[in-house]
Symmetry: C2
Amino acid sequence: MKLLEDKIRCDGQVIGTDILKVDMFLNHQIDVNLLDEMGKEFFRLFKDKGINKILTVEASGIAIAVMAAKYFNVPVVFAKKSSHKNVGDDVFKAQSHSFTHGKDYEMIVSKKYLSENDNILFIDDFLAGGNAAFAVLDILKQSGANLQGIGIAIEKGFQNGGKKLREMGISVESLAIVDSMNEVDGIVFRN
Amino acid sequence: MKLLEDKIRCDGQVIGTDILKVDMFLNHQIDVNLLDEMGKEFFRLFKDKGINKILTVEASGIAIAVMAAKYFNVPVVFAKKSSHKNVGDDVFKAQSHSFTHGKDYEMIVSKKYLSENDNILFIDDFLAGGNAAFAVLDILKQSGANLQGIGIAIEKGFQNGGKKLREMGISVESLAIVDSMNEVDGIVFRN
């Protein structure tokens, strides 16, 4: 998606060869017009999949998921990352690890909001090693819900999460795939 | 806002006299059409205040803020609740306490995204004792940004956060104000 790639080039910040900061427009400050275009693009990519619910993970995934959900006209469910008092015990759980936060966490979704009747689009801001996505797969398996696709804003194509998920036959669509990056040469996107 | 009050009556769950669970449509599963109407209503209430940025707090505030921001055509900034590796050190910080999580936390906003040129609408899902709002006031004071108003989805009118903020002269608009609630009699909304 050219609009997103241009935004990443202009306002993204590459640190070393692994960290891409997009907090100017995606995960601290949010450009809602860009977000709206991303939601529209996810709808174009997945509109024929019978999606009845969009699943994401707090916190950065929520904004993108909600914008996309407007086009699909379906509810969003966001997985929580720790034990909230108000969630209750009746939950699906999976372990994951956040490299951003440098720690393990428990991903939680209430059993009320996922069932075998659901056709799920999982949306997230980043896909790198795939830790969050694999925790989501675990939760979907527990619930019996059907994963119809994964929509990612920015995939780090030089890590293997996307490759592993596609090899499992999952439809993964990333709006921008970074094949390599460094502070001197900038970012190379996959065609 | 009648639509929200009706939704709270139908799908909200009162536990004791203090906990109102709205995870069916607001803070775990999200009804995006309701959210869109809420965003529209915040725009109606604050459209003449010269808002150029909407501030919220992760995670539950993000969805509402983003929907409202579409109507205002301004960016959203969401305060983070813990030290993220990728935020950097150049941040405004304030201490707060989450009753939902039962713990203190540090609220953080990068200095890049708040300045004295900003006219801020702060949006959040709940207002009760006002802990999050007072931490936001602290951060806004550090940044020099101007608070033009506070938009809340659900205010617990039987706690004193809203009262204290209004006594400070702040324009606080809550789409639904719960004056009392219990499991037997249900919810009484303020007119």
